[in-house]
Symmetry: C2
Subunit: 405 residues, 2 copies
């Protein structure tokens, strides 16, 4: 029951980046649950990873390897290989080594990714057995199959693509993602892979990715890198006939950054729209803050509140719950008498209480929409932040109560 | 569907403390929704209140008044009188003044309390009209009616009582509470009233209450004082024929503190057991921390995780979700290789991974219990903390999606 999530758009191939899938039968027989991605020699890779202390074995390996020469990315769904200790690390290394051997590259040039249940041993045999098939169907136009291959409780594959022309050369940015859990999805692994055929030095690519994260994946209600497996990768294959991009590349750098940002935001929104049990797509915009951080604190307090989320699910304009969340967000010396609240253009609260002329009927009508904009003005400055989230429905409980059964 | 919540125990009257109820018809006609409590002249009062920036009008008045001479406490359910601005403050003052006039005391000696929907104007007329009836049935043995009168979505009244004998004199501590929401119940007001016939100076009583809070109400999954109306009051009427208690009173002070602590813990547990939609009573005990705060951070991270809570609801021993919550609790330099996890006496994870010999069947059996003890050992020190919480069920969503309709 994804909210307004369109079918996969056209995903433009990225020169030098090929994708292959296979069925390893990790959790369900017959499902394409293994994805191999190959990038051209000389590609640079940027990565952002979970901050969870229990970060999974594949994440640990990735972090050690992604700054070196990367040739393959190996992803399995159905098993997170997290909380698996030394054996988990050995297993992640093992599947990478087998892929490296099959492909004739160094083991260190393979990055592993896993998503699924925590604490179960990685089924190394099943993965190794399926690798040849995945290598066999590597192709640059295979993004849609890969988008499906990385899914867990996602109901739809997620992808986005942009192209721009610089000095007569078309540059492509294409990406896929998976998500699913939406209320503080502590371990609903988020995986995202973006690739471009631009040529970008690693340091520049890394800075670009970090900047983009704070306007996309770090602004959806995934609680601050808290899953064990969250990873977002950006690969630049350098196959487009253009000079290497640096932060000083002016228009070219700006165009690339914008394209990556648009792809990342579309992927992040798709994760929210396909949040577990989601029936609403909710934008929480906080204006009038005295700094960015307090705007973010308020936005996430509202976005994470189970009481706000259940009210959204019920289309109940229970605005007191929203103000209450604003009140406990920890903003120092908040003058509640200056706080106002809007649903879309409808002013609900002003000066900290119900706005004059506001009626429940108006509120109910606004809350019945599938796409809801909550605007909060703190009335104490000029800073703004926006985050995106969903409601909390029966289906969220159902999905998460039954995930393993 | 409260979890193992016994019917109201015998609530011993407290000399000098009388309670009366009446039907004001605030939300539902015919319901006893108004409670008046009268304390003897010379009583001392301690109070702990919400830290929410949108703290309700009655809380603001209480904070101004409770250190003075208090004679009456006036509570209504069905309307929180929160986010109501200057009009809300005036309304709270008005109902107190009316009660003061009827009772022949100073308006400042009346403390107001409200619980219910946020943002609606307090129905002053209805409350004023019902006050004479509540005053008329004031009685020291009226605790059970008062326990029912303060309820909102609670399914059962909550009360606890202790007596001890000092130098031949019986001292009584009796209390009632209301709660309801259980996962970070941002505005599910918690109200608790405890009274004793001991004689205690205000400063001593206040310190005693603060200490008790950190072992009871502040250790249940109510997220750090975040409702708009949370209040916990402790009244000492001084009617027992004993000298005034100070912190230097030795055995007498210790006995009183223990009695208050036992009553507060029983009331706090009752709130958890009657949590909205609760089907499990869950104790989260964190041992082996290097300081209290990190134990608390871990315990609350686990207690607040919707993924842990839905797994508990499903009796699914999805222990990876618990370790994941431990991992994002923000403990600096946590060595996951030293973390272990138990359900009751069953060791599930050791050294950061699944314990040798652990089977899913064992885990499932342990999770099917109605009362569950999760024990986490961080393996880095000698500190411990315990918090109590519930699962997240369909009924939680249902109750909170329908609360106002």
């Amino acid at each position: 029951m994804a909210v307004g999530l369109a079918p996969l758009p056209k995903l433009h191939p990225v020169a030098g980046f090929a994708l292959g899938t296979a069925c390893a039968g990790i959790k369900k027989p017959g499902r394409q649950d293994l994805v191999v991605m190959r990038c051209a020699e000389g590609s640079t890779v940027a990565g952002v990873f979970t901050q969870n202390a229990f970060c999974a074995a594949p994440v640990q390996l990735c972090q050690q390897r992604f700054l070196g020469a990367v040739r393959y990315l190996l992803t399995n769904s159905g098993n997170a290989n997290a909380a698996t200790g030394a054996a988990g690390l050995a297993n992640a290394g093992q599947v990478c080594a087998t892929l490296a051997q099959l492909a004739g590259v160094a083991p260190r040039s393979v990055l592993p990714f896993s998503t699924g249940v925590i604490g179960e041993p990685l089924p190394v045999d099943k993965i190794e057995a399926a690798l040849p098939a995945a290598l066999k169907n590597l192709a640059e136009d295979n993004w849609p199959a890969a988008a499906s291959g990385i899914m867990t409780t996602d109901t739809q594959p997620k992808g986005a693509s942009r192209q721009f022309v610089h000095q007569g050369v078309t540059v492509t940015v294409t990406g896929i993602s998976k998500g699913a859990g939406m209320i503080r999805p502590n371990m609903a692994t988020m995986l995202a892979y973006l690739a471009t055929d631009a040529k970008v030095a690693q340091g520049v690519l890394q800075d670009l990715l970090k900047g983009v994260m704070d306007k996309s994946f770090n602004r959806i209600s995934i609680d601050g890198d808290c899953s064990t497996n969250d990873s977002c990768m950006l690969i630049a294959t350098g196959q487009a006939p253009l000079p290497e991009i640096t932060a000083a590349s002016g228009a070219l750098y700006a165009a690339l950054k914008q394209a990556v940002e648009e792809v990342a935001l579309e992927l992040a929104w798709a994760i929210v729209r396909d949040g577990e049990g989601a029936s609403k797509f909710v934008t929480v915009q906080v204006n009038g803050g005295s700094c960015q951080q307090e705007c973010l604190d308020v936005a996430f307090a509202v976005a994470h509140s189970p009481l706000v989320k259940t009210a959204l699910f019920a289309s109940d304009p229970n605005w007191g719950r929203i103000l209450c969340a604003v009140g406990y967000a920890g903003v120092a010396r908040l003058d509640t008498g200056r706080v106002s609240l809007y649903i879309g253009d409808l002013c609900i609260a002003q000066g900290g209480c119900r706005a004059e002329g506001y009626t429940e009927e108006q509120g109910s009508a606004a809350m019945r929409e599938e796409e809801i904009l909550l605007r909060i003005d703190l009335g104490r400055g000029t800073c703004s932040e926006t985050v995106w989230t969903t409601d909390l429905s029966y289906d969220y409980v159902k999905i998460n109560a039954q995930y393993r059964s």
